[in-house]
């Protein structure tokens, strides 16, 4: 074995990500000084890729971990309960011996027979297998004639694979999709774990529960038809899936996806429930939604936490510079530090409304420095304090409103037990900022029954500087949709909305959705602060749907978008 040359050594260190700036410069000089170093570098790059590819295939076969796990279980050495396996041309028998030995050997077994040993550890008789109606399926790189339960497989042909499930439901998976079919022994639940790609699912009505599990969220259906696609967060445009035809260009796109971060769900019939984060969303006929994984933030403590006191956007470099002011303790002086944020800076938002998720003055920013680029942020978590600003002075239910609507009488919350219950009178003048929540379409005026939260004007004990009036959160007053109008049909009967729905705090992305709204002759339309009949495209629309309808509007309020 000969000693490595300097360029070989530097190449090795480069691929181990251990080169400093000086060594990188030295490697550059060697690469450009003659073909020998560059060719050695290319050889090292190919070898690196070969290692990655080899172990990725092992990992993808979802076997390594399972092998290590089962190797420690008491029955792990029993290989007699294998289920029948498809075309397993390269099956090898495990050596007997201790668990450690098995775990080590198992790493080598899986290349050809991915999934084989994994299946062998399960009871054979009670596990279903699934029929491949059409298309080509491979398990561990070996063409399969059927799909055993719990084994990862890949659609390897150029056309979609149609799979019939035990209850008659069908799954049509696009080329290069990778999935596992799983049916729990003690429940009728059928699960498809879709790691990559897309599928269309027709679920039999008697199926008690049918679930598609993805890295982003789970989709549960009952007697319905829907499609699910897992794809990266920011696909380049145009997307290959938009190409028509039978050959597998969409499959090719799947092959290139390394980190699926978006889940697309479209409901073709019936209803589905999408579990995403801590929330569950119901989608009905015609709905299609995108769910996105929030960017992961560093797990260690942030380097700097402070209030944003300046934001400068630089269009040329596409960078945003923020200045944060922080104090270590009440006794120390505040310090200001400036950080640049680029398009690859990881951002998270806590308690910040979706439409305000951009670096802004007053937000609290927790910043992780980018060690490789001075003055740049690797990640920033922006937060708006839950109780920002002074607390309100008065809260209560509106029990009386003067005829001019300027004076309201409030009774205190029920937990105030004094007798008689003290009421408060509050005056609203033109300067009072009034906000309404959960009120009917034309209910944006003080009314008996509303809950009021009042901030008094400085020096006054009855004049409100700010008031929040809220209707019944559980009532029918709450609008069903809020979004920007993107199109209006020539006959003005059909409106298209781009809606955004708020997600739980900390979720970076909004669900984005296109919704079609029907305007009927008796749909109530209000132009808030706008000329009646104004062209609605570009305006914000708040829509109250008719009961039982996903499209027909009972009322629409048009307003100028906040931005």
């Amino acid at each position: 074995m000969s000693e490595p040359t300097r360029h070989e050594e530097l190449s090795d260190r480069y691929f181990a990500d251990l080169l400093g700036d000086e060594e990188t410069a030295e490697l550059e000089r060697l690469l450009t000084s003659g073909p020998e170093a560059a060719r050695a570098f290319a050889a090292a790059a190919r070898e690196e890729r070969q290692w990655q590819g080899h172990f990725r295939r092992l990992r993808d076969a979802a076997v390594v971990d399972e092998l290590v796990r089962t190797a420690t279980s008491p029955d792990s050495t029993s290989a007699d309960n294998s289920v029948a396996l498809p075309a397993a041309a390269h099956v090898r028998h495990r050596p007997s011996g201790g668990a450690r030995r098995f775990a080590a050997a198992a790493l080598l077994l899986v290349t050809c027979g991915a999934g084989l040993v994994w299946v062998a550890t399960r009871p054979a008789a009670s596990r279903p297998s699934y029929e491949i109606v059409s298309g080509t399926i491979s398990i561990g790189g070996v063409a399969a004639g059927a799909i055993p339960d719990g084994v990862e497989f890949e659609v390897t042909g150029l056309t979609p694979a149609v799979i019939r499930l035990a209850d008659g439901s069908r799954a049509e998976l696009a080329p290069v999709s990778r999935a596992v079919l799983r049916r729990d022994l003690d429940s009728p639940r059928q699960a498809i774990v879709l790691a990559r790609g897309s599928g269309r699912f027709q679920v039999e009505k008697q199926q008690r529960e049918f679930r598609v599990e993805t890295p982003v969220g789970n989709v549960t259906a009952l007697g319905t038809e829907f499609t699910v696609e897992v794809r990266p967060a920011e696909p380049p445009s145009p997307r290959p899936v938009e190409i028509d035809g039978p050959a597998g260009i969409d499959g090719l796109a799947g092959a290139l996806i390394a980190a699926p971060t978006q889940l697309l769900v479209a409901v073709l019939a019936g209803e589905v429930a999408v579990a995403y984060g801590d929330e569950t969303y119901s989608l009905g006929l015609g709905d299609d939604r995108v769910y996105a994984v929030p960017q992961t933030m560093p797990v260690d403590k942030p380097d700097v936490v402070g209030k944003v006191v300046a934001v400068v956007e630089d269009d040329q470099s596409a960078a945003i510079t923020i200045t944060v002011e922080s104090t270590k303790s009440a006794a120390t002086k505040a310090t200001r530090q400036t950080f640049r944020l680029f398009d690859d800076t990881r951002l998270a938002w806590v308690n910040v409304p979706v439409d305000r998720q951009r670096p802004s003055l007053g937000y609290t920013a927790a910043i992780w420095r980018d060690r490789a680029a001075k003055g740049s942020a690797l990640a920033v978590r922006f937060e708006v304090a839950k109780n920002a600003g002074p607390p309100p002075q008065i809260t209560g239910r509106v029990i009386q409103v003067s005829s001019d609507g300027r004076t309201i009488t409030l009774e205190p919350p029920h937990h105030v037990k004094t007798h008689p219950r003290p009421t408060r009178t509050v005056v609203l003048d033109p300067a009072t900022a009034v906000s309404y929540f959960f009120v009917p379409l034309e209910g944006e005026q003080p009314a008996v029954g509303y809950q009021a939260t009042v901030w008094l004007a400085p020096g006054s004990n009855d004049r409100a500087s700010r008031i929040h009036l809220s209707g019944d959160k559980r009532g029918d007053y709450r609008p069903n949709l809020v979004g920007r109008v993107t199109a209006l049909s020539p006959d003005t009967h059909l409106l298209e909305l781009a809606t955004k729905e708020k997600l739980p705090a900390g979720k970076l992305h909004a669900m984005q959705n296109r919704r079609r709204i029907l305007i009927e002759p008796d749909t109530k339309i209000i132009y808030e602060g706008l000329a009646k009949g104004r062209e609605p495209v570009g305006l914000e629309a708040t829509v109250w749907l008719r009961e039982g309808s996903l499209e027909k509007a009972g009322g629409i309020r048009f307003s100028v978008p906040a931005e």
């Binding site: 550059e28 073909p35 560059a38 290319a42």
Partner: protein, 173 residues
């Protein structure tokens, strides 16, 4: 064979080598995947321009270089550390040694890994199976970065020698 199937055949054949090339220039897995995806789309869109008498790999690598250069121009922090001159040298090297990619087979790796001691296999599994970087492997093994790096180099060299001797024995060298 229609254009699409034709393209697919070319692309799948060269995909791994293209990954190796892009991965050697872009030192972040996600960014490298983005570039690869971008290259695939451009190659598909311009497939009519591809001269079938030429190497598809060289053509796609040319597209990749343009994509990488452009991303570097747009974002100074794009993780491509080499200068345009060095990138060109690496491109030339890949183009002149394309036959090496064709002869490389991961099938050769397996029997050679099998011969390694368990500790060496564990090291490889952590580095490539779990995709840990060298310092993370060192932490996992309660060792130092340098020690792990040297051990990895040694193990890989052992496997390389093993592959070469197998090929020589089978007359494939």
């Amino acid at each position: 064979m229609n254009d699409r199937a034709d393209f697919l055949m070319f692309f799948l054949k060269h995909q791994e080598d293209l990954r190796a090339f892009i991965g050697s220039l872009v030192r972040d897995g996600n960014s490298a995947d983005d570039v690869l995806q971008d290259v695939a789309l451009t190659a598909w869109e311009r497939f009519d321009d591809f001269d079938r008498a030429r190497s598809f790999g060289a053509w796609a690598r040319g597209i990749a270089v343009n994509k990488i250069m452009r991303r570097r121009e747009q974002n100074a922090r794009f993780p491509a550390p080499f200068s345009p001159e060095a990138i060109t040298a690496i491109l030339d090297a890949f183009n002149h040694t394309e036959e090496n990619a064709a002869s490389a087979s991961t099938g050769d790796l397996e029997p050679c890994i099998e011969r390694l001691p368990e500790k060496s296999r564990q090291l490889l599994a952590l580095r490539y199976g779990e995709a840990l970087d060298v310092p993370q492997v060192a932490e996992r093994l309660s060792s130092t970065t340098e020690a792990v790096y040297k051990a990895l180099v040694r193990v890989r060299r052992l496997v390389r020698d093993c592959i070469e001797s197998r090929r020589a024995a089978e007359g494939r060298a």
